[in-house]
Subunit: 223 residues, 2 copies
């Protein structure tokens, strides 16, 4: 018997659990190639629904979703990326810089949809339950929404790439964001045919993922 307004909290079936871990394991940061066909409206709404079901500090739901469809607008975003990416490349030296410059780090113009997920720092008013001692928690809620969407997208066969190489003021200007709205995640979404088995930066020789064990400690921090 479950009380009214409650759901039994037991584990999912083995098949359901396997699906969850499959989405977590196969989710990739995708920079292309995206297939040209549109994302169906019902699929997009399911993805946004997944994001909107995220936990939020004090039930403040600080996120908003800007769906960028206008090609001219996307060209402006792409130009802002190019500017920032040139600045970023200059921060690396020698071989690293050459390797960096060869990486494809966005799919702004190719992806059928670009989606900017923002955080309204004023949402919920001046005092938000749970945010009284850590003002970053609204940003964290917004990222929970991003990750929900990312996993749902994998299950829908949609690749998602998170582009973070922008001067934030450029994105604000292009997207007309007020000062109290932070662009947390700029995402490129589209159908893809295949995914890398592991992180693309590993496949491209940029770095290697570390194993889990050294990240686990008991009780207190130790180096």
């Amino acid at each position: 018997m479950t009380a009214q307004g409650r759901t039994p909290a037991g584990p999912f079936s083995d098949a359901e659990r396997a699906a969850i871990y499959r989405a977590i394991r196969e989710r990739r940061d995708v920079r292309g190639p995206f297939r040209p066909e549109a994302i169906a409206d019902d699929v997009l709404m399911r993805l946004l629904g997944a994001a909107h079901a995220a936990p939020s500090v004090g039930l403040s739901q600080p996120w908003d979703f800007l769906i960028l469809r206008d090609p001219a607008l996307r060209k402006e975003v792409r130009a802002a990326f190019d500017l920032a990416n040139a600045e970023a490349a200059a921060m690396f030296d020698g071989e690293r810089r050459a390797l960096y410059s060869d990486l494809k780090l966005q799919g702004i113009l190719e992806a059928p949809i670009n989606l900017c997920i923002t955080c309204d720092r004023r949402r919920g008013g001046p005092v938000v339950l749970g945010r009284t001692h850590d003002p970053a928690t609204d940003l964290y809620s917004t990222v929970c929404a991003v990750q929900n969407l990312w996993l749902a997208a994998r299950a829908e066969g949609i690749g998602v790439g998170w582009v973070s190489i922008f001067r934030q003021d450029d994105l604000r200007r292009i997207l007309h964001l007020p000062d109290h709205v932070v662009p947390v995640a700029y995402l490129c979404l589209g159908h893809v045919d295949e995914l890398h088995d592991g992180p693309e930066l590993e496949a491209r020789g940029w770095g290697r993922a570390a194993p889990l064990a050294p990240h686990i400690r008991t009780d207190r921090w130790s180096d």
Copy 2:
């Protein structure tokens, strides 16, 4: 045919997709009651593996996992919560304050495991690919790990509650965190019998979740 090192990117089966959306829909912020039995080590390792499979900026994997088992340590954390929570209650007025004080916002001592997920702001060195223009992206990566764990926990029948009402310096002192390590999420984990159908803050009359539609805009911000 899929190229070597690649996985077909098509949609999951209907049953698999349903499992993903079920986890997203049923995931709750759980403050108890937690069942007293331990979380099996293999289950805990699967949850940490899910977190560790999160995307991270520049493949920096900035997260670490502190598993708090020591009861004395947990009592210190609980005292830090009580202090901050009294400060938080004082920020609300009248009926709101009374309602706030009646809410149960943590399960620090009852949950069989407390887990602090931290972000090492130095991970990956002074220049991290993708973090060159938004220094918060390592915190965002860490939150992606939190959300992966949260969804996997639902599938395992484990409730998770995120406790954010601490003076951050108190957590740092108790957990011996160095200055460059930020406590992003303090989580209480344990088996639970049932879950609220919707956000607990809604069931308790604290607030109401907004529908999705007003959160969606096209191309540019508008009020």
